[in-house]
Structure formats: structure tokens, C-alpha cells
Symmetry: C2
Subunit: 221 residues, 2 copies
DNA sequence: TTTGATGTGTAACATTTGATACAAAATAAA
DNA sequence: TTTATTTTGTATCAAATGTTACACATCAAA
């Protein structure tokens, strides 16, 4: 197990032996769950750092009408809701449910604080993990602030493109990209088609060539 | 000064004397700037924790077309970009510019790490600050995922309402609320008007009465 | 009170997007 | 290869929202 979690963001850079020594100096426990089991419920207080050692879990949210809004999958070896162990309202924002047979490492908050004192690397890793999360979310919100699909596309393509090359390779399918943009797939295809019709880009499959960077930039006005 | 920053999120709970002792044990510096001065530029590496002691600064971003997007104002006594001191890409996401004559406390990253070792409270505060940020952003994204204005309104009003009372007081003007929703002001007014016409709510100024909670919840379907 | 600034209600019209459906293309699996 | 599955292009129509404009209300300052 220590070998596995040595690859997790919070134990990265620590030898499996070191991790074992560290962990054995504080209370913690291992928890095995079957698939579709509820690990934490929305609004539960978050008092443990939970690491997915084997398997995967998902965050799921119900709105007022009971509709399920899937939030995110978390695969081993990664922590669950590291950014919700601290903070003013340290409660789970979503229900956490196992996708499959899953092994969890459960470390109480007090143990985490002790580990911070014992290993500066662990502390740095933890700080990095939650900082990355905040940075990711920040980036995501900024992106969502672009109103029209064409604006989002322009922003997205310009971000991917380098200064010297006008060739861009989309890392996502249209379906995934549409989901990332928060729009429907046909709408995204239409926007792409129109950019092509206006001779701003040329798209063959996942490869996009910027024909007129100036016009692409003007879309952001 | 130590008295002032004792009210900041990262030094909260520490006595001014304690803060002074702590800070004097590590390198740091004070920086005074006039108004409209650039404190950090986008993509600069973030190597210091910067606290606004007096005055205020703003985050500003230029899009590809050169249009200025104001991001946020930060008033004393609060840290600037605490979530960007750590993390994979620890660079400022925005230009930081002073709004007025401003005093800054600049603490190098190494000093921050030393302070973590010396004061568990400071560490906890820092963890809380980043976590709060992530939680806030997370909440914001979840909210933006509601597509139509009516859905956002329903969600927003239901969140504000308590179980026993159907009376809700909006803490924002329509203009601010529209900005928060990422929509235009007339559109928001229209949506409010339609909810009123459908006898779902009653709105007088900032006070809203929920007439039919069931219908309001059904809007989220 | 008068004035000005800010907030609010509402209208007409253009634009964007969603929803749905279907076929062609590309890809993977048998 | 054949078959099935996913991905993509496109069309139509309805719904939601933006844009712009203007009148009225509210509130604070002069």
C-alpha cells in the first residue's frame, strides 16, 4: 500500500518506508468498501483526509428536485476533498460514492496536523495540492466568463497555440469539449463550422489550423 | 502595524506581540507604494506572501484583444494571492495594481515555511485561507452550472430561504445579482417579473416572498 | 426642495443557444 | 472484411438571452 500512495500528490517524493514510518506514528485506518457504497454525504463534516488507495470514487450532487449532477471521478492514488478538510465550512460539498471495490486510507485531521510537523515535504505537498485545486478552479471560472461559444473557442484555441505555430491539436473530442464549455455538442459543432466558413480556422478532425489570428482575437472584443 | 495585521485571515488569533516576535525571526520587508503602481505582473513567479496592511489593490487581466477585465479588489488587511504561493504553476494569474497609497508586508516563501514550523496557528490559518478560497470557487462553479436565469434564481432564493420562513431578503442589488449570475440586468429583471407573474414569488424591492415553494423547486427540473 | 445618481420595470427586436433528429464519417471490435 | 460504436456535420424549430432604449422610482446630497 505504501508503495501505491507514494505516487499520490500528498506523499509524492517520500519513500514508501518513510511513509510507513510516518503513518505508524499517528492514528489512521484502512477502509474497504464495495461498489456503490456511500463514503460521505453532502454536509457531513470533513474530519479526515481520505486517500483512494485502490479503485475509484465519484462526487455526486442532488439538486432540490433530486436530479443527480455528477461532479467528478477520483481515481487512486488521489485524496478526496483535500480542500475541504480545512476552511470555514469544512463540510463535504457532494455525496461521495464508490464506483467499484475500493480501498481507502483514512487519516484524522489531528493526525494530518502531526504529519505536517514531522514532514515538511508532506506539508508542502498538501499545500501544493489545495493550491493547485484553487488555481484550477480559478482558471475554470475565468474561462466560463466568456459568454458565447465562439469566444470560448477563440480563447481555448489561442491558449493552445504557440507563437510560432498556427497548428493546434485538440486534446478532447467535441463531446468532451462541449461538456467542458458547458454547452451542447451540436452547438459547439456549429460554432466550429462557422469559424471555418468565415475562413478564421481550418479544422480537420482534431487538428486545427489558425488561418487568421487577427480575426480570432477580434472575436474576444 | 502588527495590530492591524492581527485582523488578517493568516494572523487571526495571534496577539500583535506574538506576530512581531514571529516576524522578526525571519526575513521580511515593508513596501510602500503610491496609487496606480504595478505590484506584480501576470506570469511573474509568486515567491512572496504579500499582505495588504493599509490601502487596497486590485487584480486586473488583459485578454488577447487588450480589453481590461477587472478581477477583484483586495482591501487591508488581507493577503494577495495566497493560493498562488504554492502549487504547480505558482505565477500570478493577473496584474496586481494599487488603488491608492498602500502599505504592503512582503514575506518570502522560505520565511513563510519557517513561520509554519514556529506557529501551528499561522499554519492552520494559512490552510484555512486557501481552503476557503477553493470552497468559494467550488461553490461558484456549481452555481454557474445552472443554465437558465430562472434556475439560478430558484437556486439562489431557495438557498437564502430558511425552512420556517418564506421571506427572503436579497443582499445584492439587481445589478450586482446580474453580475454574480453572469447575465445582463434587464434579463434578470425579466426573469424576476415572470416568476412574479406565475405567482411563484412576490417581490417588493429587495424583499422576496415565496408564494409557491413547490413550483420554485420544479423550476430546477 | 431641487438635483443628480443609481436602481428598477418594461418593451421590441436580433442573436445565440438548446433540443431533437438524422445521416455520414471515423474508429474500434469481431 | 463486416459489424457495431463512437464521433462528427448539419438542419429545423423553439426557447432563452442579449441589446438598446426609455420612463419611472428611490435615495442621498446640495
Amino acid at each position: 500500500m505504501y508503495h501505491h500512495i507514494a505516487n499520490s500528490p500528498v506523499f509524492k517524493g517520500l519513500a514508501p518506508d518513510t511513509i510507513e514510518t510516518l503513518l505508524k506514528s499517528v492514528p489512521f485506518r484502512i477502509k474497504n468498501v464495495n461498489e456503490q457504497q456511500v463514503i460521505a454525504q453532502r454536509e457531513d463534516e470533513c474530519v479526515n483526509l481520505i486517500l483512494v488507495v485502490h479503485g475509484s470514487v465519484r462526487g455526486e450532487m442532488l439538486d432540490y428536485s433530486g436530479k443527480i449532477l455528477k461532479v467528478e471521478d477520483i481515481y487512486a492514488p488521489r485524496p478526496i476533498a483535500a480542500a475541504f478538510l480545512f476552511g470555514q465550512n469544512n463540510r463535504y460539498p457532494v455525496d461521495v460514492i464508490s464506483n467499484e471495490e475500493t480501498t481507502l486510507l483514512v487519516i484524522p485531521k489531528e493526525s494530518v496536523l502531526k504529519l505536517f510537523q514531522q514532514s515538511e515535504l508532506f506539508l508542502k505537498n498538501y499545500l501544493n495540492a489545495i493550491s493547485n485545486r484553487a488555481q484550477f478552479l480559478s482558471q475554470r471560472i475565468w474561462f466560463l466568463s466568456f459568454k458565447t461559444i465562439k469566444e470560448k473557442l477563440a480563447q481555448y484555441i489561442l491558449n493552445l497555440s504557440t507563437k510560432d505555430s498556427s497548428r493546434v491539436l485538440l486534446p478532447l473530442t467535441q463531446k468532451e469539449l462541449a461538456e467542458y464549455f458547458g454547452v451542447t455538442r451540436p452547438s459547439l459543432a456549429r460554432a466550429l463550422g462557422e469559424l471555418e466558413k468565415d475562413q478564421i480556422i481550418e479544422a480537420k478532425g482534431k487538428e486545427i489550423v489558425i488561418l487568421n489570428r487577427t480575426l480570432l482575437i477580434q472575436l474576444l472584443n
